[in-house]
Structure formats: C-alpha cells, structure tokens
C-alpha cells in the first residue's frame, strides 16, 4: 500500500465529516431562527391591533344650565360632563329603561370620555349653548368587539359583552358613529386602569431617565476602575481578590442588587422609592462588573508592542494610556458597555424590589419623580385581566425590542466609526 492511495482514501472521509459538521451547524441555526421568527410573528400579530383604537361619536347638548354661572374656566372644570354623556346616550337609545341596562349602556364609552370633552370645551368655550358631536374613546371591551377579538358567536354568558350591548353597538355602527383611528394615546400617555387610556410614554420616559443615570454612573466608574486594575494596580493577593470578586459579582442574580438598593439606598440613606434615580443606581451597580470586565478585556487586547512604542519615545504611563491604549480599546469598551446597558434596559427584577412597579399615571418629569420602566410596564400589563391589555403588552414588548435593536445598531455604527483601523 502506498502513501498516495492512503491519503486519497482518508481525504474522502475527511470531506464527509466536514459536510456533516457544516450541516449540523446549519440545522442549529435554522432551529434558532425558527424560534425567533415564531416569537416575533406572534408578538407582531398581537401588537398590531393595539395601534388602532375605536372611537364613538356622542352628540352632547351643551346647555348653559349645565354650567355654573358665570361661565369661566373654573365652572367648566367643575361641570359634570359625565352626566351630559349619559343624557345623550339615553336620548339615542330611548328604549333602554331598566337601571341595570342603562348602566350597561353608559359603559359603551370610556371613563376618560368626560375628561376629553371637558378639555376640548376649555379650549373652545364658544361651543357652550350648542349641541356638538364629540368623538370619544369607546370602552376597551367595545374596542375588542370591533376588532373581532371578542367573538360574538359564543354563548352570551361566556363573553364579556352582552347581547344588548352588541345590538347597541351595531346600531351605532349603522349610523356611522363608530370609527377606528390610529392609537396616539398609546404613545403619549402613562399607565391607566382603563386600557383605552393607557400608554407607554410614562414607562418609556422612566426607562430613559433610569438608563441615563445608569450610564452616567456605570460608564465612568467602570472604565476608570478597569484602567486602574489593568494598567496601574500592582499584581498581588489583594488585587487578585478584587478581580475574583468582580467576576463573581457579574454572576450575582440581578434581584440581589435590587435588595441591596432597597436596604442601603432606600432604607438607610432614605432615598425615595419608585424613582429612576434609585433604579439607575441599582442598575449601575448591576452593570458595573460587566463594564469593568469587558473594558479590561479590551485594554488587555491592545498589543504590548504599541505600549512599548509609546514608552520608547518617552511617553509616561498616563500618556501611553490616554494617547494610545484607550483609543485602541475604545471600540471594545463601547461594545461591552452598551451591551450591558441594553441588558439593564431590559431588567425587571431589581426594579420591582425598589418599588418601580407602582401604578403610576403621571408622566415622570425627571429622575426624581416616581415612574416605572418599559419591562416593568410589560410585566404589569401582562398581569392585568382585561383582554385589551394583551395587545398592549405585545405592543410594549415590540417597542422595547425596537429600542434594544436600535441601541445595538447604534453600537455597531459607533464602533465602526471609532474603530477606523489604520
């Protein structure tokens, strides 16, 4: 047997093995992609209906005797628009006589309708004395019905909208008094008990404030610590201990950091609950180890020859680091930091512990005003029984995903910019 034929024989086997290896990788990738696609498709499917909102037209007769005299801003504010809406509905459906039925009838429009009408009257008080048609939000159940998310064919007892209500709604539809429009509210308002009035802007702003605080704390501290540990710290048992502990901290479950924040920041230092400032500090604690580790890796990856070159022309250690090492390590530091910030943005558990799970309607105005964050908002809505919160949950997830993806995209862009390898 000669060498040539032996090699030829083994080559065939080698190729077979390589093909198998490649195929296995391919299959894994396809499985992964399928799961991802499935997830995305379900979320997008559920979320799209949240982008539209059903409105109902009500004709309100704004008689002057509904308002305290003289008519001014204060008297408009104190007027009972709820009563006017009810009156208008009774007029539209004169057959409804029973108390219980009337109650059902009133529930067609959203609880927020009276405030919406009040606000538009404050804006244009000249409407007083006329009868005006207002488009107001329908109740979330009606919205669900209109979107076909409540099945009108199942037995009455098993659905949340009664036959009577359906017949009233059908009447309104026939009169052209029901419409669906783009759901701006979802993007401009805070949380609410009523799904049709709830939005993610409050949580979004809370997330922005929280992550800003996290970034302002974790980035400078983390990078400085990494530079010190990597470039200046003596190698001894003490620094070894610190290093081991940083690695351990990176693996600590995030909720522990929440408990730490609760015990120290809130209970000991008396900082307020539910505010982005405290949330940001807690998340900064959580992200610090990862920022330090990734920054150290990036610093260590700068070739020693560049350091020697700098020292060789008489640069000091600090000049070497500032002029050569940090610029070369910047892309790596940036990538690591932003990835850990993105993780912080999606973090829920530690924020629950420090009270950012509270029900907050007002849009936060700063890092010191109570608020919640996107992932916690998702958690809150996912926990709510109303059918209309399901689509809002999905929509909020989609928003969070979009934010995360754009952050990652931004990182890639920044990195390419900084990387400008010579």
């Amino acid at each position: 047997m000669n060498v040539e034929s032996t090699i030829k024989r083994t080559i065939a086997g080698r190729y077979r093995k390589e093909r198998r290896f490649q195929q296995m990788g391919m299959i894994s990738m396809v499985i992964g992609m399928m799961f991802l696609l499935w997830l995305l498709v379900t979320i997008v499917q559920d979320a799209t209906s949240a982008l539209r909102q059903t409105l109902v037209a009500v004709d309100i007769s704004l008689d002057e005797d509904n308002f305290d005299q003289p008519i001014n801003k204060a008297s408009i504010k104190s007027a009972s628009f709820g009563k006017m809406i009810k009156k208008s509905l009774r007029k539209d459906f004169p057959d409804v006589k029973k108390r219980k039925d009337k109650k059902q009838l009133y529930k067609i429009v959203s609880n927020g309708a009276e405030y919406a009408i009040r606000d538009s009257i404050i804006e244009s008080p000249e409407l007083i004395g006329t009868t005006h048609r207002f488009w107001v939000f329908a109740d979330d159940e009606i919205d669900m019905l209109m979107k076909g998310l409540i099945d009108r064919n199942i037995e009455e007892g098993n659905r949340r909208v009664s036959d009577k209500t359906i017949s009233w709604v059908d009447e309104l539809v026939a009169e052209g008094r029901v419409e669906t429009r783009f759901n701006w509210t979802f993007f401009t308002s805070g949380d609410s008990r009523d799904p049709e009035l709830s939005g993610i802007w409050g949580a979004m702003k809370g997330s922005i404030f929280t992550i800003l605080i996290t970034m302002l704390l974790a980035l400078p501290i983390g990078v400085a610590a990494a530079v010190y540990l990597q470039e200046f710290a003596p190698k001894n048992r003490f620094t070894d201990l610190i290093e081991v502990n940083i690695n351990n901290l990176a693996a600590v479950p995030s909720i522990i950091f929440g408990l730490l924040g609760l015990a120290i920041l809130i209970n000991y230092f008396g900082l307020p609950r539910s505010v982005p400032m405290v949330g940001g500090m807690v998340l900064a604690l959580m992200t610090l180890p990862t920022v330090i580790i990734s920054s150290r890796t990036a610093l260590a990856a700068v070739p020693p020859s560049i350091r020697e070159a700098a020292l060789g022309v008489g640069a000091s250690r600090v000049q070497m680091i500032l002029h050569h090492v940090l610029p070369l390590a910047a892309p790596g530091i940036l990538t690591g930091s932003i990835i850990s910030l993105a993780r912080a943005l999606g973090e829920t558990a530690p924020l629950l512990v420090i009270g950012m799970v509270a029900f907050i309607v007002d849009i936060p105005t700063g890092p010191d005003s109570p608020s919640t964050v996107l992932p916690v908002q998702i958690y809150l809505w996912a926990d709510s029984p109303e059918r209309a919160f399901v689509e809002r949950t999905s929509a909020a997830i989609l928003v969070l995903l979009i934010v995360l993806v754009s952050i990652n995209g931004l990182t890639a862009m920044l990195r390419n910019k900084v990387e400008r390898r010579w």
Binding site: K235, P303, P304, S305, I306, R307, E308, A309, A310, L311, G312, V313, G314, A315, S316, Q319, H323, H324, L328, R421, W422
Partner: protein, 269 residues
C-alpha cells in the same frame, strides 16, 4: 576548554572605555526564576557604534532593553547590577524614566508603528517633549527624520495615511525616524535591518555612520557583515553571558574565545 553553563566565567577582551556614555556593571536579568543575563559588564563609549552579536535567544534583546529600562514593563522581569548614563545610575530614584527614554531611544526588533498616520508617528515624540515651537518646526523635524531614515521619498505624498499600512521594511524605517525625531543621545537598535532590502539597509547604515558623529549607538544584528561595516566594537553573547568584546576588526579577524570563533566562522549560531 569546554564551556559549562553555570560556571563562573570571565569576559574576554576589554569591555571598558575611558570616555563612556553608558556603563554596565555586573548586570543580571531574570525572567521570573529563569536567568537570562549573567553578570555582564561593559561600557558604551561616546560616538561609537557597539554591535551585539550572538545566537538566537542568547539575551541580546534582553540586555538592550535594560539600557532604557524597557524591561520595567515586563512584570516578571527583574534587573540587578549597575547601569549608568552620564555617570548617573539609571535605576536610582532621581532618574526619571520618561527622561531616560527620551535620552536613550529605541528601535524595536519587530516594527511597531502607532496605528496613526505616518506624520503622527514621527511627530508624536517631538510634540510630547515640546521640541517644536511651531507647526512648521514640527513639519521640519518630521521631514528631516524621515529623510534620514531613507523613507521620505516613499511617503512624502502619503503622510496622512496609516503608518501600519506601510510595508514591513517601510514600517521599520518609520520606527527609526520616530526614534531619531527626539534626538536621543543613545540609540538602541534591535535588528533594525532584518526586514530591509540591501538598498534600504545601506541607507540605514549610512544613517548610523552619520548619527555616530553625535550619538552613541548600540545595534543588535545577525549579520556579521553589517556588524563589521558599521561598528567600532563588537560584543559576542552566548546563553546570557558576554563571552568576548573588543574592537570589531580584532573580533572578526582573530577571535580569542573558541565560542566566538565558532559563531563567526559559522560553525554554530
């Protein structure tokens, strides 16, 4: 006479000079527990070129790096013995290592330009030490340094391009230009011509001749011819020991130690 590694030894030849720029006495270097340089004593005179030759791994680079304390940057490396520049101990507390490295420039074995433009590579040192008052001063320094390193013609139209984008030999000449741009008194060159073609090599050798009018130069080389061409004195290292040192002409014509002779005549190395 056979040579045993851990035996006490005596350097053959006159290692000392009347007018030294650098003196080294009983220098030992350890990498962790492993000793890389054994009890080396020698002088580098003013306006001379000292060539260091020896087989690969014998500690030439290690010794060279002691002279500007570049070994400080290696954690496990420990240097003992006395090294002076202008009669000042370079390890003493008064000696500023930044100043030392500005006075004792270095060209490394592997070309290591900064990942910056050609211009920045050369201008970095002078700017750092405030050697140029104005922008045009700086331009002048950059141009003359590049000219002396024999690189100007090749890069004058691409000063803003990456230094790392040059060829290996061009990079080495860029590093030489960078080292001479701060006008050090001593230049340590670790195989500066190993990646250069004969023409570029002769440019560098001319530069060395020119530089020696003002400076002292210590050059590590694997080329006997080069050592013979550029140096006044030659030191032969073997397994961390300075075996023989003397006038280049003497070393190459009648080496005393059998190891030196063996290396020079190509019996090993």
């Amino acid at each position: 006479m056979s040579f045993k590694e851990n035996q006490e030894y005596q350097t053959v030849g006159n290692a000392f000079s009347d007018d030294p720029m650098i003196t080294c006495r009983n220098v030992d270097v350890f990498y962790a527990d492993k000793q890389a340089i054994f009890d080396v004593s020698l002088d580098i005179a003013k306006n001379e070129v000292l060539a260091m030759i020896g087989p690969s791994g014998c500690g030439k680079s290690t010794f060279l790096r002691c002279l500007n304390r570049m070994n400080d940057t290696i954690d496990i490396c420990r240097v003992s013995g006395e090294i002076t520049l202008h009669n000042e101990n370079i390890h003493s507390r008064e000696t500023d290592v930044v100043y030392l490295r500005a006075r004792v420039g270095m060209v490394f074995q592997k070309p290591n330009p900064f990942p910056k433009s050609v211009y920045e590579n050369v201008a970095y040192g002078p700017r750092l030490h405030g050697l140029a008052e104005t922008k045009s001063d700086l331009n002048e320094i950059v141009e003359s340094s590049l000219r002396r390193a024999g690189l100007w013609k090749e890069v004058k139209d691409r000063l803003e391009q990456a230094g790392t984008g040059l060829s290996g030999g061009q990079q080495q000449r860029l590093c030489i230009a960078r080292a001479i741009a701060i006008q050090p008194e001593v230049i340590l060159m670790d195989e500066p011509c190993s990646a250069l073609d004969p023409i570029a090599t002769s440019v560098i050798e001319e530069l060395i001749d020119e530089l020696k009018q003002q400076y002292s130069i210590c050059i590590v080389t694997h080329s006997m011819q080069q050592a013979a061409r550029v140096s006044q004195r030659t030191a032969y290292f073997h397994l961390g020991k300075l075996i023989e040192i003397g006038l280049t002409d003497d070393i190459f014509t009648h080496p005393v130690h059998e190891l030196t002779e063996g290396y020079i005549t190509g019996r090993f190395g």
